[in-house]
Assembly symmetry: C2
Homo-oligomer: 218 residues x 2
DNA sequence: ACCTGAACACCGTTCAAGT
DNA sequence: ACCTGAACACCGTTCAAGT
């Protein structure tokens, strides 16, 4: 029995095992034990199948925030959950960036961030922007890590200390010691979160200072 | 005469006109006036073709930073150039996230950011992380805007003030006034850049305070 | 040396049949 | 009501010929 849930399960499993590019109507149908065309009444199209996969991921993200915790604790919980999700399923960040967040659970996640920012004292006029900044960063970090934008590239074979003339890549030259050390991505994510929290408290402190429209309606 | 440059030009034109998904070996070959297989000696593979397109984009990004300007001026120049690039070519942000930055010009852009951060007084140990944070944000913003993650979604049809019970999406409810206004994306990008600059100066101020390894070699 | 043409193993999706 | 099979218009890439 196909059923929408079984189809989404098969697609998610396939993406986990062989990557998002291995998810095709034909491969999913094969795993479910059915002909490609039998999927269409349940998922509509390939694009809708991908949206459905994303919806499932977001559903796991929601119950993670303990309502009792402070705003910063809740944001931290959410950020950590998002990161562990994109470690378990390296394809979610790409999907999140490539398809607009239509699923209803995505609106609920956004709402939870709104509440945390309001509770932190961020002026209403700045809350949606900061929500977009935070989620853009978290998704972008996950995508960069998963797709290999972080790994190599920055640090080229010839970027080792002394192996290149100082004038060519002066920044890399001066940072040779630091760049030689391996990166602890968990620590980096943590440091980035601390920076984001600094921005939030700074925005809350600025209420009514450098802008006329401080604490708005609400 | 094909030539690598003519092939990349055709591919870029095609992506601008009909989107990245319209770029195929067959369509590019058609535009160049040649058989698909004739491209292979010049570009190697589809993936390498995409890398080549990205390389061309990065080359436009480099000469934009006036060496005379302050570190914050140079970072601003770079950020604005990156944003106008991803407005002209909505596919670059996606490509930047999906493929590791191997092109040599990408290393040069990273180096320019390293220099700016060092000049700002950011401790060496924090410079690579902050570079990744800044570029992740800028690329993520471009991708979110281009792929439609920002546009709709957050603000649902039923998120209008009073049209939903307060208990359901409390954050959206409290922000109804703000969410009803259209977003000025240029202003938002500017405000985000100001926030990033705050993080940089804050990191510079922390030198030698909460970490042992303050101003490193160099 | 450079290009072509046919072929292989794939795609998403439509449409007419089958039970 | 639900599924199948053949078909259409695509992919990237290999390989043997052509000039």
């Amino acid at each position: 029995m196909p059923s929408r849930d079984a189809i989404l399960d098969a697609a998610i499993q396939l993406a986990d095992e062989r990557g998002l590019e291995a998810v095709s109507m034909r491969s999913v149908a094969g795993r479910v034990g059915v002909t490609p065309m039998a999927l269409y009444p349940y998922v509509g199209s390939k694009a809708a199948l991908l949206d459905g996969m994303m919806g499932r991921m977001l559903r796991e993200l929601l119950p993670v925030m303990a309502p009792a915790a402070s705003w910063s604790g809740r944001l931290r919980d959410l950020a950590h959950a998002a990161r562990s999700l994109s470690k378990q399923h390296p394809w979610v960040a790409r999907l999140q960036l490539l398809r607009p967040a239509i699923e209803p659970d995505s609106v609920r996640v956004v709402d939870a961030i709104y509440q945390a920012l309001l509770e932190a004292g961020v002026p209403a006029a700045d809350v949606p922007r900061m929500e977009r900044m935070i989620s853009t960063f978290i998704i972008g970090f996950g995508a960069s890590e998963a797709e290999g934008r972080f790994g190599r590239g920055t640090l080229d074979p010839r970027a080792r200390r002394g192996q290149l003339p100082e004038g060519h890549l002066p920044g890399h030259y001066r940072l040779a010691d630091v760049l030689d050390e391996p990166v602890d991505w968990d620590a980096e994510f943590e440091a980035d979160l601390a920076d984001l929290e600094r921005l939030i408290t700074a925005a809350a402190r600025r209420v009514g200072n450098d802008r006329g429209e401080a604490a708005d309606g609400g």
